[in-house]
Structure formats: structure tokens, C-alpha cells
């Protein structure tokens, strides 16, 4: 059984890493010199998403509210369909603070996962970051940025919108963010899939101002 687990793990590691190894490096640039649209428009004032997520067997659905209270300062709350607060948090220039949280979610790994996910959605990497420009077999533009020991792979469409963001740590894909856009290139859906933690989140935009 132990061998089987080890083999499965090795297989998963190999199959995962091959996705990123088949990419070819075509250049290196500074972040401010690349063409890339932020996931959420930097000008947005507030956004409302229908939200569904399942964590450790507990299913939640409700509404996510995000408000940009000043430049790059965001306040956010998720309420369930009965109006109860599930989690409230704030980002002030990437610095996270938890405001309140349902007892069932009060676990440091769950909170840290929420923190990392929403930071990756709300903020682009720092301007000083160096970006590896990559191409894969489909000739897609992929930008890879190394940040705190992790590699962030931004997959771009022809309009320079990010349609997928993968976070890879030690050649292992940790999380994938899949983005869908409407005809006006405004984000319409975000699917967050974790590969080493039982938390998947689906966000569907209902309103943005």
C-alpha cells in the first residue's frame, strides 16, 4: 500500500511537472514592461459574486461582496443564503487581516488558503518582479513569476486577459484559478481548484461597479 502511494505520488509529480517543463523560455522582462490585464479591473469600486465552496466536507453557498475602499485596499464579506456572515476580511496593499469568521471555518489552514487565493485574485505581482516569458506547445503566451518560493504561471489569451493562473511549488501544481470573461472582457467566473487541500471555490459575477 505504501509503495502504491509512493508510485502514485511520483506519477502525479511527474505528470504535473511535465506541463511546465514543456514550455520554452522566449525572454525575460520586468513586470511593468509586459502586456497583461489585471484579473479585476483596477478601477472597480465594488463587485458582487455568487459564491459556492466546499471545505473539508462542508458545503457553503451565498454571496461575496468586495469593495475597494481606497486604492488597492479591499474589504470583503461572504454571507450565506440566510444572510449569516461566513467570513469577512480586509486587504491593505496585500496585507491580510481577518475581521470575522464562522466557527466552522476557524482553522489556520483554511484562513491561510482564503488569504492566498484572494490575494492572487485581487493583486498582481509587485512591479519589481522579473517575468519569464514562456510559450507552450499551443503557442500560448505564459508569464512565469517567482514569488516566495512559488512559481506563478499566468496563461494569457489573445487579448492579454489571464484565463488561467497556476501556483506551482517544487514542481507540483498547488492551485489553479480558471477565469472566464464576458463579451466586454469583464470577469464573469472564477473557479479555484486546490490540489493538496480540500477547498474548491466557484465565483460567478452578478454585479460590478
Amino acid at each position: 500500500m505504501k509503495n502504491l502511494i509512493s508510485i502514485s505520488f511520483l506519477f502525479a509529480l511527474t505528470s504535473c511537472s511535465s506541463i511546465y517543463e514543456n514550455m520554452s523560455l522566449v525572454g525575460v522582462k520586468k513586470f511593468e514592461d509586459i502586456d497583461i490585464n489585471p484579473i479585476l479591473s483596477e478601477e472597480f469600486n465594488s463587485a458582487v459574486f455568487a459564491v459556492e465552496f466546499e471545505v473539508a466536507g462542508n458545503y457553503f453557498s451565498g454571496t461575496l461582496f468586495i469593495k475597494q475602499t481606497s486604492t488597492l485596499v479591499y474589504k470583503s464579506t461572504i454571507i450565506n443564503n440566510a444572510g449569516m456572515n461566513i467570513i469577512s476580511f480586509k486587504f491593505d496593499n496585500r496585507k491580510f487581516s481577518l475581521i470575522s469568521c464562522l466557527e466552522e471555518l476557524r482553522n489556520k489552514y483554511i484562513i491561510k488558503t482564503f488569504e492566498d487565493d484572494f490575494r492572487n485574485i485581487l493583486y498582481m505581482p509587485g512591479n519589481s518582479s522579473l517575468v519569464n516569458l514562456l510559450k507552450n506547445e499551443e503557442n500560448s503566451n505564459i508569464y512565469m513569476i517567482t514569488d516566495s518560493g512559488s512559481n506563478l504561471y499566468y496563461f494569457l489569451d489573445i487579448n492579454f486577459n489571464i484565463y488561467q493562473l497556476d501556483l506551482v511549488r517544487q514542481s507540483e501544481r498547488v492551485v489553479s484559478y480558471i477565469f472566464s470573461y464576458n463579451i466586454n472582457f469583464i470577469i464573469s467566473q472564477i473557479d479555484i481548484n486546490h490540489y493538496n487541500f480540500p477547498l474548491d471555490i466557484k465565483l460567478t459575477l452578478t454585479k460590478m461597479e
Binding site: 458582487v48 458545503y59 443564503n81 449569516m84 454585479k207
Partner: protein, 214 residues
């Protein structure tokens, strides 16, 4: 039309609204003991309640409010059913110590005592319906007010978990039948939840199956 005309016309419209006029005439309750006796008597005579409800959730940091509508059922001693119909179907059933949630065809059940928050909310709801909420002074400090058509009771959390996140609860009772017509919860962070009950039917037959989730 200048801005002063707009303000004047707006004020006229608001003053014609009974609720607003009433809210200007809030005064301390003249006879608290009589009110408490009447609420207790009515709650003793109430075996069940069926009602429509409208819930408005206001978040302090965003102008958006979430309005939900549904059906509410209560049956003595401790059976509650909150059936959210709009904008999403969502069901909460409290049957004794068991708490059930049906959300998108998924059912979650747990022992109500396992969650402090649900225990507190359940206690508030049941004690507001039975009138017991005014008796236990260790949990809430009540302040009694009235208008021409309503009794208004403001409850300030006195201790415990509630005091950490709840600023106050406001209960509005009808002067006609002493039943609860509105419940307002104001949280410390400024978020507010209003639940308004309408089309109430008292003491109708509600089958026990309403308080089970299959």
C-alpha cells in the same frame, strides 16, 4: 427645481408615510408590566405560527443590500422552519437540538450545541417568540418604547459571546395582537439584518413533517 424644493418635497412624502411618522413619535413605553403580561399571555396561547418573511441584509461597507423572501413556521416547543424561496432556495430547520440546512440539494445536519453561534441565534428566535427573551436579564438588558401602532424593545447584550459581535437586537411587536412583526439585529461592525413577518396565521395545524428534512 432647486435642491431645497427636492428636500422639501421628499420630506412631505416621508411625513405622509405612517412608519416614518411613527418613528418620529417613539417614546418610552408607558406600561411595561402590562406589555410583558400581554406578550406572555399571547405566547402561552400560541401553539404555532405560519408566516411570510422578508429579510434585508445591509452590509456596513457597501450600499448593496440582499433581500430574501420566504416562509416561516414555528411550532411549540422548539420547532422552527425557515424556508427561503427568493432569490435562492435555502432551508433551515431546527428540530429540538438538531439543526438542518438544505442548500442546493445538499443537506447538512449538526447538533445545535456544537455551534455557539447557532445556539445563540436559535435561543434569540425561540425566546422572542415565547416572550422569554425579556426575562433573562443576564443575557440582554431591555429598553422599552412605543409608537402609536407598535411596541419597540431594544435588547443590549449583557454578556457572553453575543456581546462580542452584536450591538443590539430590536424587536417590534404589534399593538393589535402582541405578536412579533419585525426583528432587527445590528452587529458591532455595523452590518444589519431586518426580518419582517407578514401574513401571519396563528395556531394553524402544521404537520410535524415540516420540521424534518428527507
Amino acid at each position: 427645481m432647486n435642491k431645497y424644493h427636492i428636500i422639501f418635497i421628499s420630506l412631505l412624502i416621508l411625513l405622509n408615510n405612517n412608519t416614518f411618522a411613527d418613528s418620529l413619535n417613539v417614546e418610552s413605553m408607558k406600561n411595561v408590566n402590562e406589555f410583558l403580561t400581554k406578550v406572555e399571555k399571547e405566547s402561552k396561547n400560541t401553539l404555532s405560527i405560519s408566516s411570510d418573511f422578508t429579510q434585508e441584509k445591509h452590509l456596513s461597507f457597501i450600499s448593496e443590500k440582499v433581500i430574501s423572501k420566504g416562509k416561516f413556521y414555528f411550532k411549540k416547543e422548539n420547532l422552527l422552519r425557515w424556508e427561503y424561496i427568493e432569490p435562492y432556495e435555502y432551508l433551515i430547520v431546527i428540530n429540538g437540538d438538531q439543526f438542518f440546512i438544505r442548500d442546493n440539494d445538499r443537506v447538512i445536519s449538526f447538533d445545535i450545541k456544537s455551534s455557539k453561534m447557532f445556539t445563540e441565534i436559535n435561543d434569540i428566535m425561540l425566546s422572542a417568540l415565547t416572550g422569554d427573551i425579556f426575562k433573562d436579564k443576564t443575557k440582554f438588558t431591555p429598553a422599552f418604547f412605543e409608537t402609536r401602532s407598535e411596541y419597540i424593545i431594544k435588547l443590549l447584550p449583557a454578556s457572553g459571546n453575543m456581546k462580542k459581535f452584536l450591538d443590539k437586537i430590536v424587536l417590534i411587536f404589534s399593538k393589535v395582537d402582541y405578536s412579533l412583526i419585525k426583528l432587527q439585529m445590528i452587529e458591532k461592525n455595523g452590518d444589519k439584518t431586518d426580518i419582517t413577518f407578514s401574513n401571519k396565521i396563528m395556531n394553524n395545524e402544521i404537520p410535524d413533517e415540516k420540521f424534518n428534512i428527507d
